[in-house]
């Protein structure tokens, strides 16, 4: 579609585009220079503030790596716990009994409507009031609980969409050879839809990784973002430098996950044995179901 929007460029159009390119470059250069000048005049680009990240491994070993470990732990735990829960609710929403559908639907819609941060704050306080979980494990529990509650409901929608993306002939054929509902789900529908769901699940992992940072900012969870605090306290409040380094690590990590997801998606699209259907992640609802052409809806639920 993209290239259909404009004609092949003639000489005057080429000149005009060159002009726009130059203008855009100039504008960007002004902004970049202004930011550089601002940072420089405030001493934020002084070598002292950045030097620790380039000349030694200490900031990484002492602050960043432990933080990254906590981020990954929370994200992995959240995904692993949320997956079966999500599958359960997703399948329940496809039940033949209206009351099962109703209950599952209400639960899923409820947790999708509430900010993750509110769920985390609630979980943190609840654990501190009603349980005796170790005080330094509590933030992890709270973060994981918040993430699980929210992401299970998103995964439920992914699972539902994945199953619905299969041709109805599959169910009909299973019925025809005398399978019961449970058997149809287990042997026919789920195995096929899992492949269609995989890219969406991996994309959801990006959302989970991003959301762990909420725990660092608001719940004293020692994840990657929170590792900035003791670090900048040591290096003379080099907040800008520390935040930049941590942001780059987040980008690299999530970019790897996103790339993995789209690689999976391409792979699955080409797969001859599958239906070719792929579920797109649309955290926050409204998943588009079947394969091409689709609307990709990543609506940026997160922190």
């Amino acid at each position: 579609m993209t290239s259909v929007l404009y004609d092949a460029q003639g000489p005057s159009a080429k000149r005009r585009n060159l002009l726009y390119t130059a203008l855009f470059l100039a504008a960007s250069a002004v902004v970049v220079w202004w930011v550089y000048d601002g940072l420089n005049s405030k001493g934020q680009l002084d070598w002292v503030k950045w030097e620790p990240f380039f000349t030694s491994s200490q900031p990484y070993v002492t602050y960043i790596w432990p933080g990254l470990q906590n981020t990954l732990t929370a994200a992995a735990l959240a995904l692993v716990i949320a997956l079966p829960l999500g599958a359960f609710f997703g399948i329940a929403r496809l039940s033949d009994h209206w009351w099962v559908r109703g209950i599952a639907g209400t639960v899923v819609e409820f947790f999708r409507a509430i900010p993750v941060l509110i769920l985390m704050l609630f979980a943190n306080q609840a654990y501190s009031d009603f349980t005796d979980i170790d005080s330094d494990m509590r933030p992890l529990y709270a973060v994981v609980t918040g993430l699980v509650l929210y992401n299970a409901s998103v995964l439920a929608e992914i699972v539902r969409a994945g199953i619905q993306s299969l041709p109805t002939g599959q169910t009909d054929a299973a019925k025809a050879i005398g399978m019961r509902k449970g058997q149809t789900m287990r042997y026919v529908l789920l195995p096929q839809s899992v492949t269609a769901m995989l890219p969406a699940i991996v994309s959801q992992l990006v959302v989970i990784v991003k959301d762990t940072a909420l725990g660092g900012a608001m719940l004293t969870f020692s994840e990657l973002l929170a590792s900035v605090r003791p670090m900048s306290a040591n290096y003379g409040a080099n907040n800008i430098a520390s935040f930049t380094v941590v942001a780059l690590i987040f980008i690299a990590l999530n970019f790897a996950l996103t790339s993995f997801a789209s690689w999976l998606e391409r792979k699955l699209r080409r797969g001859k044995k599958s239906t070719g259907a792929v579920v797109h992640a649309g955290p926050g609802g409204g998943l588009e179901t079947i394969g091409p052409p689709t609307i990709h809806t990543d609506d940026g639920q997160s922190g």
């Binding site: 579609m1 259909v4 929007l5 404009y6 004609d7 460029q9 159009a13 585009n17 726009y20 390119t21 855009f24 470059l25 960007s28 601002g38 940072l39 405030k42 819609e109 409820f110 409507a113 509430i114 900010p115 941060l117 509110i118 704050l121 306080q125 609840a126 990006v206 990784v209 991003k210 959301d211 762990t212 940072a213 909420l214 660092g216 900012a217 608001m218 973002l225 800008i240 935040f243 942001a247 990590l253 999530n254 970019f255 996103t258 649309g282 955290p283 926050g284 609802g285 409204g286 052409p293 689709t294 609307i295 990709h296 809806t297 990543d298 609506d299 940026g300 639920q301 997160s302 922190g303």
Partner: protein
């Protein structure tokens, strides 16, 4: 039982949430549309910029962006966005951060909407002699917008929930109030229930109304 509930305080906090949502929504709609225009446009440099912007911003936690607006833009570069008291400045910085973040998702939703417009539409427009901006403005975008009402509604709902992150720089919105209340009062379940209900009141109608709008305006093909 409801002694923690100061109605004025509660409504005030949710009013801040609503204002954050509305301003950020308008801002990201504009900036997101411009980004989408860049990404489908004929100028390679702008296409590159759009792609890099979207891929970088989508992969950073919103918390980092919001804290950065305060520490980087305000504290270091001295951009106060015209505000002179801390609550006003923080509010505007939070809106700016939310726009920067959300517009990446608006851009992607819109771009996929552009892909649903049949090729013939653009070809016909070009045959009439319309330029790229005219094709986009008069023919493609109006149709694209109509087909992405649903994804946009999801972005809007996500944005509503994301405003809670503004409390990281001390904007007194709903999550900020809730954090204070649960530390002060013992009625945890009640407090959490009230705030959950508040957000459901904001997000559920958004979904329903825009869902209805989406059916109403959908291009029949």
């Amino acid at each position: 039982m409801f002694d923690f509930l100061d109605m004025n305080e509660l409504l005030g906090a949710f009013w801040v949430t609503v204002k954050l949502t509305v301003y950020s929504a308008l801002g990201s709609l504009i900036w997101g549309t411009m980004l989408a225009g860049m990404r489908v446009g004929p100028i390679p440099l702008m296409r590159g910029f759009g792609t890099v912007y979207v891929n970088v911003v989508r992969n950073i936690p919103l918390t980092v962006i919001i804290v950065f607006t305060s520490l980087g833009l305000y504290s270091t570069l001295g951009i106060a966005l015209g505000g002179d008291t801390i609550p006003v400045i923080n509010f505007r910085l939070a809106v700016l951060g939310l726009i920067a973040y959300t517009s990446a998702f608006v851009c992607e939703a819109l771009r996929s909407g552009i892909n649903t417009v049949p090729v013939g539409q653009a070809e016909a427009a070009r045959a009439l002699g319309l330029s790229f901006t005219q094709v986009l403005r008069l023919i493609v975008l109006p149709q694209a917008f109509r087909s992405v009402v649903n994804p946009m509604a999801n972005v809007l709902i996500a944005l509503t929930k994301n405003t809670t992150v503004a409390s990281a720089i001390g904007v007194a919105e709903a999550a900020y109030l809730m954090k204070g209340l649960i530390e002060e009062y013992a009625a945890l379940l009640l407090i959490a229930g009230v705030f959950a209900l508040g957000f459901i009141c904001l997000t559920l109608p958004t979904g329903l109304i825009l869902g209805w709008v989406s059916k109403k305006v959908a291009v029949k093909r």
